[in-house]
Structures are given as C-alpha cells and as structure tokens.
C-alpha cells in the first residue's frame, strides 16, 4: 500500500507538471496586472502595504482559479467513482491533489517573485521574507479554495452558490499577512506561527469537508 501511495504521489506530480501551462498563463496575467497597478500609481508614494495587498488579492484569485480548474477536471463523476472505490480514502487523494496544486503555485511564485517585486517597486531585501510569508499562507488558501471548488463544481447549481460561505475563511489570512507587513522588517516569528496553526486547522477539516462535498454533491 505504501509503495502504491508513493506511486500515486509520483503520478500526481506528473499531472501537476502537465497543468503548469495554466499556472504560467495565470502568473503572466498577474505580472500584467501588477504592471498596470504600478503604472497607475506611479506618481503616488506608496509604502509596502498597498502593493503587497494587491499582490495578495491577485494570488488569492489565482489560487481560486487554479483549484477550480483542477477540481472540475480531476473530480468529474467518472473519476470520482474510481476515487471513492479506491482503498485510499478520498480524503487522502484530496490532500495529495491539494499539495500538488500548492507546489505548482508556489514554485511559480518563487520563479516570478523577483520580477513581481521589481514591477511593484518593492525593495528586493524583502524577497525572502515575502516568499516565506506567501509559502506559509498559500497552504491555507489552497485548502480553503478546495472546499470552495468542491461545492462550486457540484451538479446542483442552487447548492453551488453556497460556496460563497467558505470565502470568509480567507479573511484571517489576509488580515494577518497585512499585520506582518506592518511590522518593521517582518521580524516576528510568532506571527508566522499563526499561518502554521491556521494551516493545521484547515488540514484537519478541509480534506474531510471537501471529500464530503464531492461525495454528496457530485455523484
């Protein structure tokens, strides 16, 4: 079973690599939006908060799009039947897929982040800290987005509207991210722990709720 689990991870990794073109397109859109944002405010003196908030909102949308796309492709009814009848629980499959989506998004962010910071006129000394901040918060964003996606892709259109209820779960991430950037040089380890704690909370509930929604709404 363990051998097949690792085989599953490797297959999911291959699938993730094949889905990279979509991530690339999304990050290109992010760069274009950042450029428009920067150009439109070129005569204003901005601190780090405004561009970072903009970056966060864009990353939030990118994650939502990416998770929605992967879920609608990889959790259609026929595949879902096989996942449900698999000896691996659906929660484990959801967890592995979420982690692969996370890896895909964060690797692209690491690659594009220097360019994004230059466009947004943010000093590159913050590069590492912004990457760490985003790597930590993106984990929770992907897991919450998976709950949203599992409801949105349901066959019942009326119920898919209830996915809006999951959106407030993103708010603490945005609040804490902005709170960290308010502190001088982002230097506070305890604040980073929030993201870890919030991720662990999501890890406990998100795969369970996602797989429950997939089973009940999409089969």
């Amino acid at each position: 079973m363990i051998k097949n689990f690792f085989k599953l991870i490797s297959s999911e990794f291959q699938l993730m690599l094949r889905g990279s073109i979509f991530s690339f397109v999304l990050y290109c859109l992010l760069i274009i939006s950042c450029a428009i944002f920067s150009l439109s405010l070129k005569h204003e003196s901005m601190g780090i908060n405004a561009p970072l908030s903009f970056l966060y909102i864009m990353i939030f949308f990118i994650s939502l799009f990416k998770v929605e796309k992967i879920y609608s492709l990889e959790f259609d009814e026929a595949k879902l039947h096989q996942y449900i009848l698999s000896p691996f629980s659906l929660e484990i499959i959801v967890f592995v897929k979420n982690m692969m989506i996370y890896l895909n998004l964060i690797i692209f962010f690491f690659i594009f982040s220097p360019l994004i910071l230059i466009i947004l006129n943010i000093d590159l000394i913050y590069l590492l800290k912004i990457n760490i901040l985003l790597a930590l918060s993106l984990l929770s964003i992907v897991f919450i987005a998976s709950m949203t996606a599992s409801i949105t892709i349901s066959k019942n259109n009326r119920l898919s509207l209830t996915s809006i209820l999951t959106l407030p779960l993103f708010v603490p991430i945005l609040i804490f991210s902005m709170a960290i950037t308010d502190l001088i040089d982002f230097n506070t380890g305890k604040m980073y722990l929030f993201f870890l704690a919030y991720f662990l909370l999501n890890l406990a509930f998100s795969p369970l709720l996602t797989s429950f929604a997939l089973k009940k709404l999409s089969v």
Binding site: M1, N4, F5, K7, L8, S11, Q14, L15, R18, G19, E74, D76, E77, A78, K79, H81, Q82, Y83, I84, L85, S86, P87, F88, I93, K215, V219
Partner: protein
C-alpha cells in the same frame, strides 16, 4: 451474495423505481435492462453505495453495503471515461492501478494489455485514442484489479466484435471463479446462463 429488498429511489419529486427485489449469488450474472431513463445507472449507483435509496435495503454477504465494503469488494466501471486526457495510455494504466492499490506485475500487465489492445502503441496520449480504445482502458481494470463483484454500466457500447467476444470470455471466467457480475446493457450478451431484470 448481493440481495436487494424493496428498493425505491426518487430524484426530487420523481420516483425513478419502486420496490425492486432481486438476489445475485456467487457465479451469477444479472443483466439490468430498460429504456433510457428507466434508472439502470441509478440502480447500479445505489448498489455501490454512491447514492442512498429512498427506502429498501441492499446487502452483500448479509451485511449492509458501506463505503468500506464497496471499496474492498466492488469494481465499478461507469459509462463515461475516467482516464486523464493529458497522460499516455501507459501512464493512465499505472495511475489507475496505483489508485486501486494493485501490486504491479509487469508480466500480467503486458498480457492484459495485449488481450485488449494487441499492437497499440502505449505511449499514445489518451485524447488521441478512439472511443472504443478509450473504453478498452476501462475494461482493462477487469483483468488487473481483483475484486469479487463487478458492477458494469453499459460495458459493451462502442466496442468492436472481437473485443465483445473477449469481454464475454472474461465474464465466463469470472463466473467460473464464483464472482458476481451486475451489468446494464442495451446489447445482448453471448453467455448461456444469466438473470435479467427489466426496469419499466
């Protein structure tokens, strides 16, 4: 043995079927027939515990079918295809074998692939295959995943004559080994002994 008692199912306010009863013993095949929309696929989904019935019970070897029983004992092949379009045929086979936790035996895999696909290049992307070839990938699981009960939704549609004979041979072998097969089909199957359930 699979036993279905007084099974009814409704979708919204529409009753799909009412008070269905049947038993399928090991070594038996049940062919579910009926017009489009009669509830054949829904009945299979009820048996595999994908959806809950309105009333009635479904048992396998005396106990109610739950998710654990279904994943341990049932192999379900749906009408629509489950493979990943971006993967090759070979990668798809390996992916779905790992999902079903099948011990990978290269010899058995080659033999099974040859049984269905003959000389087909396994490095072809899945989206490049024809409907029938795609269907064969689903049926390949019948040979590679060892579960006592097969629940098959229209497994013969889109297949050529030679493959239909091959699938019927697989059915015969399964029944000889005391397996249970429940399938829906608009086509007749070539086996001599099987039960039929007609949904109105």
């Amino acid at each position: 043995m699979i036993e279905v008692n007084n099974l009814s199912f409704a979708r919204g306010n529409t009753l799909i079927y009412k008070n269905i009863n049947f038993k399928v013993q090991p070594g038996e095949l049940l062919l579910v027939k009926g017009a489009n929309g009669a509830g054949k696929t829904t009945l299979l989904s009820n048996i595999v515990n994908f959806i809950d019935p309105l009333k009635g019970s479904i048992t396998y070897n005396g106990s109610e079918i739950d998710n654990h029983t279904a994943s341990q004992s049932f192999l379900y092949i749906s009408e629509t295809n489950f493979a990943h379009d971006s993967m090759t045929l070979n990668q798809n086979i390996e992916y779905w074998l790992s999902i079903h936790n099948v011990k990978f035996d290269k010899h058995i895999k080659e033999k099974s692939v040859n049984y269905f696909f003959q000389q087909l290049n396994l490095d072809k992307k899945f989206y490049q295959l024809s409907f029938g070839q795609k269907k064969k990938l689903q049926l390949l699981l019948l040979m590679l995943v060892n579960k006592p009960v097969w629940i098959l939704d229209d497994p013969l549609s889109g297949l050529d004559d030679r493959t239909i004979i091959n699938v019927n041979t697989l059915f015969e072998k399964k029944l000889e080994n005391k397996g249970i097969i429940i399938l829906t089909s608009h086509q007749n199957i070539t086996l001599n002994n099987y039960k039929t359930l007609k949904l109105e």
